[in-house]
Amino acid sequence: MTVLLDPTSERSPTIRPRLPRPERLDGLTIGILDIAKSRGDVFLHRLGDRISERGITVKHYAKPTNTRPAPLPLRQQIASEVNLVIEGLSD
């Protein structure tokens, strides 16, 4: 029998179930996160306007750069202020 040493971090990835989708958007606050990809803001603002027209509260957020994960304070702020988040992943 051969013994090899584990080259990995020996962590099992945590699989977290997604939150259930809300039945209705009425009364909820939707966050829109612009990850700072080129022209993503154009699309996301248009989307925000369309949602606002339906009487739903929208809050806009932006990452300082698309090249790095969102800073922790921003993630915490979003989590504490909205019920749902829409983000644009690419340009």
Binding site: M1, T2, V3, L4, L5, D6, P7, T8, S9, E10, R11, P13, P64, T65, N66, T67, R68, P69, S90
Partner: protein
């Protein structure tokens, strides 16, 4: 205190394959006759014949427990404790240790001993494993007799697609001999899992990549460099772009470990170049969990994501090496990591003056990614010796070439706007009438490498806009 050792008396550890042990055989015989001496023999249970019953230590257990480094070693025990030890043959020392005068009168006064078998390379590692003294913390993965090691490693997802060297405990211990750093020292947190890369985990991946122990300090420096926040390793991994870390090695270690800075420096065929770059990628994959088509979202990627590592050709250069330019002392070894991809060749076989050649370079640089994009990404220009000679002969310093290239990479905004040249890609109409540079200031890096023949340089393209908002090249000194 280990068992089977005398409460009071002498122990000698010897091997037949040692002229000094042979020399002392008559003395050992005399001490044995007087009583109180036990002789352990490392390689031949009948040696020395002058002693009635030498103890077979060919398994080297006792030698290891007594931490013998040289044979012969003579040790005195009193009251169950070691009180004195001497190595090799030295009449005065042996007389003092045994309390017997006029030992070995026919022998020379002194002779150095030989290396003990238990500390030979490969043997020491096996003994540490047998006695569970490795200090390694990684999980043991048992591969069954009937299982193919390579297939087992593939199945576990450890491979970049090519076969791996199986990371046995012995190999990992030998790899760790390449550094004085504590195996449990954390080099940094590897994205995307933000998992700690200990020196031990890096060593395991270095074994798999095919590294020799002497490469390990370079691998560790490269891992440290990509984990610097400013390099943005998470983004370099996750991007749809082409890039991966490109490793440039400077300083004395290049030659010490046999890296290639000459012909085919960016190609295949050199173990150090290939294995160091591959080890870095395996650390990202295995420790960080960064795998293609998972968090690595590259559209095409590039072949350098298997390995992309080379040495700068500093010898005969009139330019400061990249590391020195970036603040490292010339006699200190260092690695610089650059988020880069591929190689765009710059062929110029006719320019004989620096003005013409720098224009050639600039025109090629301006085409990088897309002629319509500026400022574009950072770039590393690998200048071949024959091209470098043109600048050297004309007295152009590296700083001069940087300045000239920057100036020559100015582009008319009219050529960059959306639709110009019949190409929809491009910048806003507000660029019209302006002058835009292809690079951010400081976004170009010059390195000298390649074979002595050939007027062929190469551009290693960078990532997105370059600079602090994406990835900055990072230089780290190589620590042993």
């Amino acid at each position: 205190m280990p068992q089977n050792l005398p409460h009071d008396g002498l122990i000698a550890i010897v091997k037949r394959d040692c002229p000094t042990c042979e020399l002392t055989a008559p003395v050992l015989g005399e001490l044995a006759r007087r009583g109180g001496l036990t002789v352990y023999t490392q390689d031949d249970a009948s040696f020395p014949e002058t002693v009635p019953a030498p103890v077979d230590d060919t398994a080297l257990d006792m030698s290891h427990r007594l931490q013998i480094e040289v044979v012969p070693t003579l040790i005195r025990f009193e009251g169950g404790r070691e009180v004195a030890r001497t190595y090799g043959w030295d009449r005065g020392e042996w007389e003092r240790l045994t309390g017997i005068a006029a030992l070995g009168q026919e022998l020379p006064q002194a002779r150095p001993g030989c290396g003990a078998k238990n500390v030979e390379p490969g043997v020491l590692e096996r003994l540490k494993i047998r006695f569970n003294e490795t200090g390694l913390k990684s999980r043991h993965i048992e591969i069954g007799e009937g299982e193919d090691e390579q297939e087992a490693m593939y199945e576990r997802g450890w491979s970049d697609g090519l076969p791996l060297v199986p990371p046995s405990e012995e190999r990992v211990l030998r790899m760790l001999d390449g550094t004085a750093r504590d195996p449990q020292e954390v080099v940094g947190l590897v994205p995307p899992d933000i998992a700690p890369a200990t020196v031990e985990k890096v060593a395991i991946n270095a074994v798999m990549a095919g590294c020799k122990p002497e490469y390990l300090p370079v691998v560790l420096a490269a891992v440290e460099a990509v984990l610097d926040e400013r390099f943005a390793m998470h983004g370099v991994l996750a991007t749809t772009g082409f890039v991966g870390p490109v490793v440039v090695v400077n300083g004395p270690i290049r030659r010490r470990i046999g890296m290639n800075a000459k012909g085919n420096a960016l190609g295949q065929g050199n173990r150090a170049n290939g294995a160091i770059g591959r080890a870095l990628q395996l650390v990202i994959r295995n420790v960080g969990g960064g795998r293609p088509r998972e968090v690595d979202r590259a559209t095409l990627g590039n072949p350098g994501k298997y390995t992309y590592c080379f040495a700068e050709d500093e010898e005969g250069s009139s330019w400061q090496p990249l590391s020195v330019e970036r603040g490292v002392n010339p006699d200190v070894s260092a690695v610089t990591v650059f988020a880069g991809f591929g190689l765009q060749g710059v062929v110029d076989q006719k320019s004989r003056d620096p003005e013409s050649l720098s224009r050639s370079f600039a025109e090629s640089l301006k085409a990088m990614q897309n002629v319509k994009l500026a400022p574009s990404c950072d770039a590393m220009l690998v200048v071949s010796p024959e091209h470098h000679r043109t600048f050297k002969n004309a007295g152009w310093s590296k700083a001069r070439l940087y300045e000239e290239l920057y100036r020559l990479c100015e582009i008319r905004g009219d050529d960059l706007v959306v639709g110009a040249k019949g190409i929809a890609e491009g910048g806003p109409s507000s660029l019209a009438g302006k002058t835009i540079n292809k690079f951010r200031p400081g976004g170009l890096f010059l390195v000298r490498a390649g074979g002595d023949a050939g007027m062929f340089s190469g551009i290693i393209g960078g990532w997105s806009a370059g600079g602090p908002r994406s990835s900055l090249p990072i230089t780290k000194e190589v620590r042993t």
